[in-house]
Symmetry: none
Subunit: 200 residues, 4 copies
C-alpha cells in the first residue's frame, strides 16, 4: 500500500551490518550515503526522508541521527562525496576561459547535479549549517574563478587594479540566477563578452 520502490534491492546481499566496536563503521556510512543518493536521484531532494534513508540502508534511525543529525547534514555529506570537479581552462584568453567555464558549468548543472545544487541552496535558506557550508563552498569556487581572471591580469589583458573577484562574482551570480530560474538553456554569450572585455 505504501511501500513503493524504496526497499533494498533483494538481489543485493542483505546480510545486516553490525557494530565493529566502539567506533564508526565505514560500511554503514557508505550504505547510508548510497541510500540517500539513490533516493535523491529518484524523488528529488524534497523527497528525502530520514526514515526512508534508514530503511533503504538497512540502518537504524539512531545510527543515522548519530552521524548526521539533520537532513541538511546528510545532504551536504552526499554532496561532498559526489561534488562535481570543475577544471578551469587556461587558453590565454579571458573570453575563452570564461566561455569554457560557463559551458562546462551549464553542462554539469543541466544534469542531476543541478537539481542537487538548487536543492542545497533551497535547504540553506532554512538550515544555518547548510548555509555556512554553502557559503564556504561558494567562496572557494569564487576564488578558483578569480584565479582565472588574475591570469588575464598578468597577461595584461585587463587592468591590474581591479579586484579579480569582481568579474568572477558577476559571472557566477549570472549562473546562479540562471540555474535557479531554470533558464540555463538561454544564451549567455553576450554576457560573457561583456565580462571579458578590457575595461574596468
Amino acid at each position: 500500500m505504501s511501500a513503493e520502490a524504496e526497499e533494498q534491492d533483494p538481489k543485493e546481499k542483505s546480510k545486516t551490518r553490525q557494530s565493529i566496536g566502539a567506533r564508526k563503521n565505514p560500511d554503514t556510512e557508505m550504505a547510508i550515503l548510497d541510500a540517500a543518493a539513490e533516493i535523491i536521484a529518484e524523488k528529488g531532494i524534497g523527497g528525502l526522508r530520514m526514515e526512508a534513508v534508514a530503511r533503504k540502508a538497512k540502518a537504524g534511525k539512531a545510527t543515522l541521527y548519530r552521524w548526521w543529525p539533520s537532513r541538511g547534514a546528510l545532504l551536504l555529506a552526499v554532496y561532498q562525496r559526489n561534488k562535481p570537479s570543475m577544471c578551469y581552462s587556461n587558453t590565454g584568453s579571458l573570453h575563452e576561459d570564461f566561455l569554457h567555464f560557463a559551458k562546462d558549468l551549464t553542462e554539469i548543472w543541466q544534469g542531476e547535479t543541478g537539481l542537487f545544487f538548487k536543492a542545497i541552496i533551497a535547504e540553506s535558506q532554512s538550515d544555518p549549517d547548510v548555509a555556512e557550508k554553502l557559503k564556504d563552498y561558494h567562496a572557494e569556487r569564487l576564488e578558483a574563478l578569480a584565479t582565472v581572471v588574475e591570469r588575464a591580469q598578468l597577461r595584461g589583458e585587463i587592468s591590474q587594479k581591479e579586484d579579480p573577484a569582481t568579474r568572477a562574482e558577476l559571472l557566477i551570480g549570472l549562473m546562479w540566477q540562471r540555474l535557479l530560474n531554470n533558464r540555463l538553456d538561454e544564451t549567455i554569450d553576450e554576457h560573457i563578452r561583456m565580462l571579458a572585455n578590457s575595461e574596468t
Copy 2:
C-alpha cells in the same frame, strides 16, 4: 512547551466569522492572509503550517484548502499582496541609476522582504507553480531594469548594439547571489562600476 504565541491575540476582537451566503467571504480571505503573513514574519516561511494559519485566522482547514490548495499558493498570495515596490531612478547616469537600484534593493532585502524572497526562491525549487510565478516576476523585474539600461543607450552612454537586458541580468544575478549567500552587506561598488562602463 508547545503553546507559543501563535494563538490569536486575545486583545483583538475575536468574534468568529461565518458564512455570508453561497459566496466567498472577503473577511475570511483577509484574515487568512494576515495570519499567514504574521506567521511568516515570526517563524520564517519554513515555519509556515497550514494548520497554524487556520488556527490563527480562526478559519476551518477546509476553507483554507478550498481557496489555497497548497502551501505554495498561499505563499504566493501573501507575496502578491505585500510585493515591494521598487522605483527606478533616472539621474542621467547609468552608474548612478545602477547604484541607486542596488542600494534600494539591498535595503529592501535586508529587511523582512529579503527573508520572504529567499524563501520563495527556495520554495520554487520544489513547487512548480511557485517556480513559474517566480520566473514571471523575475522577467518583469529584469525588463524594468533593462529599461534603465535602454535609457543609457538612448543617451549614448553605452553602445546601442548590445541587448539592454544583458547588463540588467548581470546586476540582478549579482544581487540574487548576494542575497542567497547572506552577503548583502559586502561592497558592490566595483561591480557596478564595471557594469556601468561604456564598453561592450
Copy 3:
C-alpha cells in the same frame, strides 16, 4: 519479517472509517477497544503496544492518543467493557455464601480475566490513574461482599457490632494474594470456615 498475525483479518470488511464530523466516531472507539482486547488475549498485557493497537484497528496513532492518552487508560477502558459480573449468592448461611463467592471468583480468575486483573494491578503500580480506578473498583467490590456479611449480621449469624467490611476484606485480601502468587488452585476451605465463624 516482523508482521505476525496482528494485521486485520482480510476476510472482514476493511472499508476505512472516517470522520463523522467534529465529534468522536463510535465505530473507531469500538474498533480500537476490540483490537486492544485481541492483542491482550494473544500476547498478554505486557505485550500491549499502542502502535500495534492502532495498526490492528486501522486507526491513526493520533486518534488513539486523543481518547486514551496512555496505555493505562486504554487498559482500563477495555477492562470496563469486559468487566466480569459477579453475583453474590444468598443462601442463608455466611459460610455457604463465602464459599460460593470464592469458588466463583476463582473460576473467573483462572481464565483470561485473571491475567487481565493481575496485569491491571501491576500497571497500577506505575500509573496513578490506573491505581485510582483500581482503588475505586476494589472499594466497590468490597462493599458488595460486605453486604453479604451484613445479611449474616441481620440473620444473627454473627455479631452486629463488627464492621461487615472486616471479614470481606480479609477474604478479598486472601484471594488477591492467591491470584498474584498463582496459587488459586490451592485449597481455601479452612480459611473460609474461619472467616465465616460466629466470633468477632
Copy 4:
C-alpha cells in the same frame, strides 16, 4: 532536558574499574547493584533502565548482561541484598504478636521498601523468574508467621487442629491487599482481633 541526575556523583571517586583477570570482579558487582538501588530509589522500579545502571556504575552493558541477563534478575539481586529483616515477637499473646507483626510490616512498607516490594509484585506478573522467586519468598514469610501461630497453639490459645498457616495467610493477604491499594494507613485493629481470636 534529558540529563537529570543519573550521572555518577562527581564527588565520588570515579576511577574506572578494570578487569582483574579471567574472573568476575566483585567491585563491579557491587558498583552495579549500588547503581541499580540508587536509581530505583530515585525513579522507582518502573524507571529502572539497564543502560542507566551501566552508565551510573561505569560498567559496560555487556558486563551487566553477562551477570544479570534481565531486568528481573537485576531487580531480584538488589532486593536480596537489601531484604528487610522482620523479627517476629513472642509476647505470649497471639493478638499482641499479630499486632506487632502488622505494625512492623506497615512501617517497613510505608518507606522505600514498600515501593520496592510493590514493584516486584508487579514485575512478577510479566517475568516468570521473578514470579518464582517471589513465590518462594512469600512461602518463607508465610512459614515464619505460621510459626507464631503455632506457638499460640502450643500455648493452647487456639485450636491445635487448624493449620497454622491459615491465619497467617489471611493476615498476609490483608497486608498485601492494603499495600497494593495504597491503603496501609487505614486501621487494621479489628481485622487482627478477628484473626487472633480463639475459634476456628
